[in-house]
């Protein structure tokens, strides 16, 4: 018998460093409190964990509902091959958002309180309910992969019969809370910098989520095609890039409307920290992606598409950080930069996401088999015959 010594790759090394630091920061957070583990203060109560882990986490997981809607509501069968991985990415994304909330909440053991203690007037209450319900929807949408592996046919059938109501609920819940994350900031008109404060915030948040969802699916497909050495579905991803481009164009129009309505010209053309951050965000989050993604040559090339969508994602992240941090810093005059332990927890959570995706993709039928073993049965549902997939 051969004994295998696992090779430690560069990324493996980075992973374990992040895990080690993450465990240290976790212990610090839960033994010494938020004050010791973060740079948060009464003047700046929401930091990186809300700005990145929650606002970006939820947005980047939008691919799940966008692809599910394309496949089941709009009946675009071709996207079916990337649906399981998009659902898995979304499901893990939401679970990680909940993990991040457990770090950020002062009393994480009360996280379930919105279930029985209601305040329907609160945007946060609505977000809490939508995230709870949508995570449940994602768990159900993900469950067939598990049932397939376990060869449980009956529950698989039950879930399949619920597909359409589940997808419709998923789309509605996503629309609501993706936009509501923007609505959270509607109540601070006198604190948030005018460049970002707008009654359009919920619509801007929703549109950018619709744009970034497919971008994340593309990046995830690209990376897993390299990790699992499988062909990339370039023609599907190229089509999907049009969704990103169109959503960003609408976003562009709404933002221009804001600039005109709120008379932002003096703000955006002044040479300040905020205006520079705004232009950076607007360039890499909106203008450059539109320019690149409307070019069919770039859309058709693996690398080009990957780079273009990566820029979309980076611009999206910058936008969320600008709304949640840059736009509020000036007002508080306290200045905020996350403590290293905050950054370390964020990296830890992202690393856990990557590891979990890898593990699940290895063991469950997340990617369709390369060999054309798929059959189309009546009603247009595509199923992968279990025994054929797992016969080896």
């Amino acid at each position: 018998m051969k004994i295998k010594v696992p090779k430690l790759t560069f990324w493996g090394f980075v992973f374990w460093i992040i895990v080690a630091l993450g465990i240290y920061s976790t212990i610090l957070r839960f033994t010494k409190g938020l004050g010791a583990a973060t740079n948060l203060s009464d003047n700046f109560p929401w930091g990186l964990w809300i700005g990145f882990d929650v606002l970006c986490g939820v947005g980047l997981a939008a691919g799940g509902f966008v692809i599910a809607a394309a496949v089941y509501i709009f009946n675009l069968e071709e996207y079916k091959s990337i649906l399981p991985s998009a659902i898995l990415t979304a499901f893990l994304g939401y679970l990680l958002v909940i993990v991040a909330l457990l770090y950020d909440l002062g009393k994480p053991w009360n996280i379930w309180h919105p279930i029985i203690m209601w305040n329907p007037e609160s945007v946060m209450f609505e977000v809490a309910w939508c995230v709870m319900l949508y995570t449940t929807v994602l768990a159900l949408e993900f469950s067939p992969m598990l049932f397939q592996k376990l060869r449980l046919e009956k529950p698989q059938k039950i879930i399949k019969s619920l597909t359409i109501p589940l997808v419709v609920a998923g789309v509605i819940l996503s629309t609501l809370h993706q936009s509501s994350l923007g609505s959270l900031y509607l109540i601070v008109p006198e604190k948030l910098h005018p460049i970002w404060y707008s009654s359009n915030l919920p619509y801007l948040f929703f549109l950018s989520a619709v744009a970034v969802g497919p971008a994340m699916v593309t990046i995830e497909s690209y990376l897993s095609s390299r990790a699992f050495k499988r062909e990339i579905e370039i023609h599907i991803l190229a089509k999907l890039a049009k969704v990103t481009a169109v959503a960003l164009m609408v976003y562009f129009v709404l933002k221009v409307e804001d600039i005109v309505n709120y008379k932002l010209f003096p703000h955006i053309f002044s040479l300040g920290y905020e205006s520079l951050m705004f232009w950076l965000e607007f360039a890499i989050g909106v203008i450059v992606p539109i320019a690149l993604l409307t070019n069919s040559k770039i859309r058709g090339s693996k690398k080009g598409l990957f780079v273009a969508q990566l820029i979309t994602v980076l611009g999206f992240i910058l936008n969320r950080l600008n709304v949640s941090i840059t736009g509020l810093e000036n007002y508080t005059q306290a200045g905020y930069f996350p403590k290293w332990t905050e950054i370390s927890v964020t990296l830890f959570i992202v690393a856990l996401g990557f590891a979990a995706f890898r593990l699940i993709a290895k063991h469950l039928p997340v990617f369709p088999p390369e060999v054309e073993e798929r059959k189309i049965i009546a009603e247009g549902f595509e199923v992968i015959p279990i025994r054929e997939v797992f016969k080896d």
């Binding site: 839960f30 033994t31 010494k32 409190g33 938020l34 004050g35 010791a36 948060l40 203060s41 009464d42 003047n43 109560p45 929401w46 809607a69 089941y72 509501i73 709009f74 009946n75 950020d104 909440l105 002062g106 009393k107 994480p108 009360n110 996280i111 309180h113 919105p114 203690m117 209601w118 305040n119 329907p120 007037e121 609160s122 945007v123 946060m124 209450f125 609505e126 977000v127 809490a128 359409i164 419709v168 789309v171 509605i172 629309t175 609501l176 936009s179 609505s183 959270l184 509607l186 109540i187 601070v188 008109p189 006198e190 604190k191 009654s199 919920p202 247009g380």
Partner: protein, 256 residues
């Protein structure tokens, strides 16, 4: 009956008796910080020699109560806005949203609470007055019903127009507050915000939140509708294809 406090900045002498009475009421240590914090629910700020007592404004339509996902804040019938730490999950949206920057947080505790003035709710319920009002030797804080206090404020402005800047702060700011301020100059020169709207801040989220039930109904109907149409279109296409094949087969059959 809604109670409130009229704070007359022109009368405050900066003796900090209110701070001490408040610290005693909450069991907090005495500090020399003189600013609102997790251990100071009232504080006398020094703005270039002018003493400005600060405390929770006890808004008529409180932003904290509107944003709290679990309803840990309540506007009571007697006027005070009170906080229930047992409901709180520590999301700190109240701290983020309060237009007067009042709620503070126990950042270094493992079971942290939001801290703020509750207008000595227990004492008021028993017919008493808040500790800070009782302790003030200069009568800079007057306790009474909001209506009485507004009349009193107007009377003071009318009787001493040279002393007072003719504006009752809290009458309309953020939809009105139970704590009212009088001063000899605009309050924005004394650390208060100028850009507060006259409507409660919850107005801005209500506009969008009220659309949700309608959205769920119409959105759901629309999505099911699109699903039905696209599915039907596919079925029709498939049947047409089949029909064509059958026709071709028939032709072939006839040809033979």
């Amino acid at each position: 009956m809604k109670y409130g406090i009229l704070v007359d900045i022109t009368r405050c002498i900066g003796c900090y008796a209110c701070e001490e009475a408040c610290a005693e009421r909450w069991g907090n240590p005495i500090t020399e910080e003189h600013r609102l914090s997790a251990i100071q629910n009232t504080a006398v700020e020094d703005h270039d020699g002018i003493y400005v007592p600060r405390l929770c404004m006890h808004c008529e339509k409180p932003t904290c109560a509107s944003v709290c996902p679990v309803g840990a804040f309540q506007k009571t019938k007697l006027g005070p806005v009170v906080y229930d730490p047992l409901k709180c999950l520590g999301c700190r949206y109240c701290i983020q949203a309060c237009p007067f920057n009042v709620p503070k947080y126990q950042w270094n505790k493992l079971n942290p609470k939001v801290t703020k003035c509750d207008m000595c709710y227990e004492r008021i319920q028993k017919g008493g007055v808040p500790a800070c009002v009782e302790a003030c030797p200069a009568e800079a804080r007057t306790f009474g019903t909001r209506e009485e206090l507004i009349e009193e404020a107007k009377r003071r402005i009318n009787e001493n127009p040279e002393t007072y800047y003719p504006h009752i702060f809290g009458l309309k700011e953020a939809g009105g507050t139970s704590i009212l301020y009088l001063a000899d100059r605009p309050l924005n020169k004394l650390g208060f915000k100028v850009n507060l709207p006259e409507v409660p801040l919850s107005h801005f989220t209500e506009q969008i939140m009220s659309k949700i039930p309608n959205y769920i109904f119409w959105g759901g109907t629309l999505l099911f509708g699109i699903w039905w149409i696209t599915k039907r279109r596919d079925e029709v296409q498939r049947l047409q294809k089949k029909l064509k094949e059958m026709e071709e087969n028939n032709k072939k059959g006839n040809g033979k």
